[in-house]
Each structure stands twice: as C-alpha cells, then as structure tokens.
C-alpha cells in the first residue's frame, strides 16, 4: 500500500464529515482501490493515533465512518438515518432525543429543512405511521395558537410542558426579545 494512502483516505473521510456526509468502508476503498489494493482497512487505520478521530457508526444497511474532529456523534446518528433514508426513525429519534435531552417539543416543520429536507407528503406519511403504530404511542402532537404543530414524547416531557414550550417557540419568543 502506498505510504500516503492512509492519509488520503483519512483526509477524504474528514472532508466528507465536514460536509455532513458519512463514508462507507467500500466507498473509501473503491476510491483508493487502485493504489490501496486490499491493504486498506479503516478499522486498523483508526487504531493509529494519527487517525484516532476516525470513528465507525453502524446503520441498518451498512457501517459508516466519520471524523470526530469534523462531525459530532449526535450529528452522525442523524447522518446515518439520512443516508439510509429512514425517515420514520429520523422523526421518532429526533423527537425522543429532544424531549429527553433539552427538554423541548419538536416543530414538525423542521423536518422540511436542513439537514432533513423531507417533502411534506413524506412527513404526512410518517405521521400517519406514528399515529397508528403502538411502538410510537409515546409520540404525541400538540398545536399552537398559530396552528403550528409540534411533536413530543410523553416518556420524557409532560404534555402541559410541551404545550407551553410549543407556544413559546412559535409565538412567545418573538414578542419577548
């Protein structure tokens, strides 16, 4: 294997991470196949101190690599689901994470924008699944005075608190600067 291949491979993964994109092992090996032959192993590479920022994350369909110096683990989790077009998990995981971590409800409209870029029809389809599947019975919807809708997980966020915070996000914050 050419001496500079590990550095080039790591550089590629870092650059992709900076753009918010993950890299599969195949993707990297294919890119440098001619030079690397079968000698390039990202697992081995990441054990090298110089490339210790390279991190593997597993999806349903593949394993992915990213650089922790350019992408956080929380974003990598989003990126996996984006890569695998798992819109349902994107919505459910985001809502549960935000309800438990911050805590806050999640405006449904955010899934139309960066980094999700879902179509309205796709969101509606996912909402229909969430509403009818008992695995997601903790996900509830609430409305604000301007008919902006939010989701929250009752496992982590009381309904009344979610309703207040939704109204604040949609209306209150702009009137109190």
């Amino acid at each position: 294997m050419s001496d500079n291949i590990p550095a080039l491979a790591a550089g590629f993964i870092r650059e992709q991470s900076r753009k918010g994109l993950l890299s599969t092992e195949n993707n990297v090996i294919n890119r440098f196949e001619q030079d690397a032959g079968n000698g390039l192993s990202l697992s081995e590479l990441s054990e090298n101190k110089e490339y210790g920022d390279l991190q593997r994350i597993s999806g349903e369909k593949a394993d992915y690599w990213y650089s922790t110096s350019c992408m956080t683990s929380s974003y990598a989790e989003i990126a996996v689901l984006l890569e695998e077009k798992d819109l349902l998990s994107l919505i459910v995981n985001t809502v549960r994470r935000e309800s438990s971590l911050y805590p806050r409800p999640t405006a449904i409209e955010i899934f139309e924008y960066s980094p999700y870029f879902m179509k309205k029809e796709e969101i509606e389809t996912m909402m229909s699944i969430i509403e009818n599947d008992t695995r997601y019975s903790d996900i509830e919807k609430c409305a604000t005075s301007i008919d902006k809708f939010y989701l929250f997980s009752t496992k982590f966020l009381p309904k009344a608190q979610a309703e207040y915070l939704s109204e604040w996000d949609a209306v209150g914050q702009y009137e109190n600067q």
Binding site: C70, Y75, A107, A160, Q161
Partner: protein, 705 residues
Amino acid sequence: MAVKGGWAGKILRVNLSTGNIERINTENFIRYIGGMGIGYKVMWDEVPAGTKAFDKDNKIIFGVGPLTGTGAMCSGRTNITSLLPSNPYNAVSDSHMGGHFGVELKYAGWDAIIIEGKSSRPVWLKIVDDKVTLEDAGIYWGEGTFATIAGITAMMGKQSQVAAIGQAGENQVNLSVIRTGPSHSAGGHGGVLGSKMLKAIGVMGTGAVNIAGDKMKWHELNKYALSLVGANNQHVVPRTPQPWAEYSHPGSRWTAKDGLYWEKADPPIETGTIRPEETNRIGYRTMKAMLDLGKNGPKYTVRMGGCAACPVRCKTHLEVPQLEQYGVDPHVANTCMGFYSPWGVLAGISGGKASVPGESKDDASVIAKALGAHYADDYGVWCNYGQIGRDFAWTYKHGVLKRVLPTAEYNSIDWESIEAGDPAIFADFYRRIAFKEGELSHLGDGAHYISERWNLGEDYWTYKGNKLWTKIGYPVHHSNESDAQVGSLISSMFNRDAQSHTHQNFIGSGLPTEVQKDIAAELWGSADAIDEPANYKPVTKAKMKFAKWSIVRNLLHDSLTVCNWMWPMTTSPLKERNYRGNTALEALYYTEATGEEISEEELDLQAEKLFHLHRALTIRQMGTVDMRNTHDQLTGWQFDMDPDKKAFEPGTIKLDREDYENTLTMFYEEMGWDPKTGAPTRATLEKHDLKFVADDLDVKNLLPA
C-alpha cells in the same frame, strides 16, 4: 487615583442655561467604573429628590467607560442616565444605545457628558476633541432624527457620530428616544433632551484610547474573547443540526447555515455554515432578519450591521423598494423591538396580519415592520418595550378610545384600514403621538399615566395579554418565563423594563438544561439555580444568587461599557471547554486596559455598589423606605394566569404569591438589604463606601429601622 489607561480622563459638563462648559477630572468617578456608575453618582450628588424629568434641575448624563473605544469585544455601548418621565415617580433610569457614538466620545477625549440646565433656544452640542461649542439648532428643530443626523453629519464630517431626538423628544413625549447611527436608539429619555431644547450631540475625535497593559497581551485577550463568543445573545449552539455541533436549538440566534443568503446584497451573500473556530466570520453567524421579519426577511436583507468592536451583527439593514410607495426611503435598519413594536401597533388590532395590495402575507409583514420602524425612528417615539401597541389595542378593543376621544378625533382615525392591517396607518399614528395631537397621543405618556387619565381600572393591569409587570408601568422583559423567580425578581428591581440580559443569555444559550445546571452549580453553588423551562420549582438561595449576579453583571456592563446583550461569557460554543465560557473576562480586560490589577470578585463588588446606589436613588425619589410594597409588587396576572393549573406544575410559568414574597425576602437578604422593606441598610451602604448615601437617607428618615 491617576488615570493610566482605559479612561479618557475627563468629563464634560455643559450648562445649557448659562452656556458654561466645564471639564471635570474622571479620577473622582473611577470607583464608580464609568457609564451608568458616573450617571448614578451625578444624579445622587446633583439632582434633588422630587425633581421631575422635564424640570430644569434634572440632568442627563451620557456615559461611557474604561473599555469603551478600547476595541474590547462588544464595547460600543453608550449609557444614558436621567429621571424617567414615563415612570410615575420620575425615578432614575437608564437608556442605552449601541452604534459608534460612545467610541467616538472616547476618541474625542471624554468619559461622559453631563447636561444640565435649559437652553432658551434650540441648540445642538458640537464636540470636536477638546473643542466644545453650543450651536444653533433652529434649522433642525421640528425635523425628524434622520434629517437631523444627516444634516449634522454633513456639517461635521463623515467621521463624526451624532445622537439626536425627533419631534417626540422636542414635544416632551414621555415615550421618546435618543437615536444614533442608522439603527440604534435609547428609549425613554428623548423628552429630557427636548425639555432642555438640546436637539442633538455631534462628536468627532481624532485621538485614541490608551491601553495601560502590554499591547500583545491585549491582542491575545481579544483573540481569546473571540474564541468564546457565540452568536447574538451569546447563543452558543446553531439553530439547526450541523455536522460540527453536538447540540442545536430552534430558538438560537446562531442562524448561519448553507443556503441562507443576504438576498438583497449585490451579489447575494451566503452566510454558510460558520463553525466556532472561524472567528473571522463571526459576523455571519446571526441573521436577525429571519427572526424579526419572518420568512421573507432574508429576501430584503442587504447586510447585517452592528456596533463598534462587536463581531456579532444583530441589526438588519433592509432595502424594501415598496416603501417608496409610501414616500419614504426604502432603506431601513433595526433589530428586535424596533421591528416588533410597530408590528404590535398594527397587528394588535388587525388580528395579527398586515395587508398590502398585490403583496403576499409574508412580504406585507416585512413592509409593515419596516415602514413602522421608519416612522417610529424618525419621529423618535419609544415603544416602552412594545407596550404602546398593546395599550393601543386594549383601549380600542375595550371601547376606551371611543369613550375618551372626542367624536371628531375618533372619527378622524382610519379604523377600517387599521383593522385591515394596512401599514399606511403608521404615518398618522406616530405623527399623532410625536406631536401630541389630540387625546390619542396620551398613549405616549406611558402605562401609568393613561391608566389614571382614562380610568382604565384593575382589568387593564391584571389582563395577562397586556404583559404589565408592575404598576410602575412597564412590561415583561424576560421575566417569569426566564427561570421563574430569577427573571421575575430581575424585572421588579428597576424603574423601567429590566435591561438585564445576563440571565436570559444563559437560559437561552441553547444548551440542554442539564449542562446549564452543571454550570449553575459551579457559579451559584447549586444546580437548583436553574429549572427546566416551564417546569419550575419554589425559590432557592441559588436562584437568588443567580439573580443577583445577573443584575450586578448588567450594571457592570453598562458601566464598562460592554453590551449586556452579549456579555458575560458564561458559556461558550466550545465542546473542548465543556461549553464553559469565562466569567473573569471583564476583569481581565479591565486590568489590561486600566493597568489596575483587579479580580472578578473585586470588580463585581464595584458593580454591586452601583445597584445599592440605584436602590437608594429610587427610595429617595419615591420618598419611602418600603420598597417591597410600593415598588416591587406585581400586577397580579402572574399569580392568576392559567386558572386550571397550579404554580410549580409542568406547563405553566404561573407564580405563587407566598413564594414571590419569599423570593423578595431571600433576594433582599442576598443583597444585604432590610428583609422587611427591601431597603439597603446603613451597614450595607457603608460596606460599599456609600456612607454619604446612608447619611443622607438617614436625615430623610429613609433608612430601614
């Protein structure tokens, strides 16, 4: 103490009655830090109790501090102290403006301007370095702020900075502003300048501010500060999930992202994603247009602007061609309530909509906000933090205006257009206020005065939607929604809406509550200083330490002067620092600028002294020691809102009466004030080198027993 650096070294005193111009040594004020501190000391020493805001004996102090003009981060603020006409007792208060006026004042060699007396004719004050003259303002009297500032700037030169009042100030409207630059205004004291017939102050300086410390160390300090700063309001996470960020928050003002443009720039400029280490691109982090002006704000944005030495640009500069149809300049610049307040004037009655023929709802809203901002700024009308719009709507909807306005006047108002959301009504509305035309213009007197004049009754004060915080007549400003008792207490301590953003910046940083709790425990002794939003718990000692610290830092910033909408650096965007900022940064700057070694704690003590002085000024002006019952009580809706919920249940920001009284007691004790009355004790005043204040209050029987 000799001035080595930071301060300019002298203060300008201008007597408008005699035309006398005097230079005072700043050294006597150094223990009052600067800006607000100078203002309070002058007010205590020189303005007798009982003086009214528009009396000749009132004074107005434009103050800057040892960091203004040094290039320290966000050090472009000017503090203005005087009696506040909209306050029922005309108690002391401050208004503040950003821009470049304060910095220019320092370059001209001045730490403050004390304006006293009253001119017999309209004048403006011209300051070119040490040369100070009073000039005839006859040609500007009757003009708006735009023409006045443009005219004086043309005369003095492009390097000058001008602060001016509009017709509202001239006519001594209580709610009027002093404005500078394209987008900066200080609310509340325009009428004081008007009462003195001082139309404007123009200043040009060719000097510099000396840094007493090592110049390289100063440079490194600035670089370090830039590494800790976030976006507007020190929000330290991006608004949308981004690869570099562990956290994000939809309320964050770190709006930068790929595909977001200043669309009216030529060519359009993409803010792009801005990572924390990109300190040369901090100016792109915040695009306020998308927050203040809605979905179509970016479409009209030429650029973001801001103040001297501030890397964060929080003022939206717009080009709205449709404004030419209304006969005004299409270029408008402002931020926050500058846009939201006129929107409230219109939308409070129209039902939240603006309507312009041929324009979409989103475009019409931008047109309305920009047009309203133009008229309010030009006439120099202050909104009392949005209260004027709520008062207009409430008095209209409750039939008050129909009752109190003469029929001819009532019928002269185009209610149909207002209800339809037609922005053309702004010209008429703001003119009536600024020129005191008719009964309607009393909306410009302020909440307390219209309540008395129009007999609005308790319903007016206790209606939650009116947002009135205390009967002194100002509204909420990051109050019970901001960590319950912390925001509530802070909102009750001043003589106008609280100008403290310390607590709100921390709460609104975008970090998860658990991270904030860890930081709170380090700073205020317990994680209990902060609760989950809208899931509040009874008051704790740590909450009151947080409240006190927030106020003290607010006063510190308005004295140094640095922007309290950005400072302190309680948090940072840096994961490697575990999102900690550095609360000692002000002291580090102070030490390097002035050459006087000072710790964070020592500097906080100096700022705390100013808060005791503010309280003493309020007590002396109100003539009572019983602050708890006469000053600090709420209007009531805070306890009675959400009738189906109890205080401290999730989902409400409702307060509890007993808990609020406990809050006051615990805060008074934290301050060293009498727990019964909330007045500073002699011991506390003396501890803070304010024996002369204690002695004076004692003579007036205004010290607690």
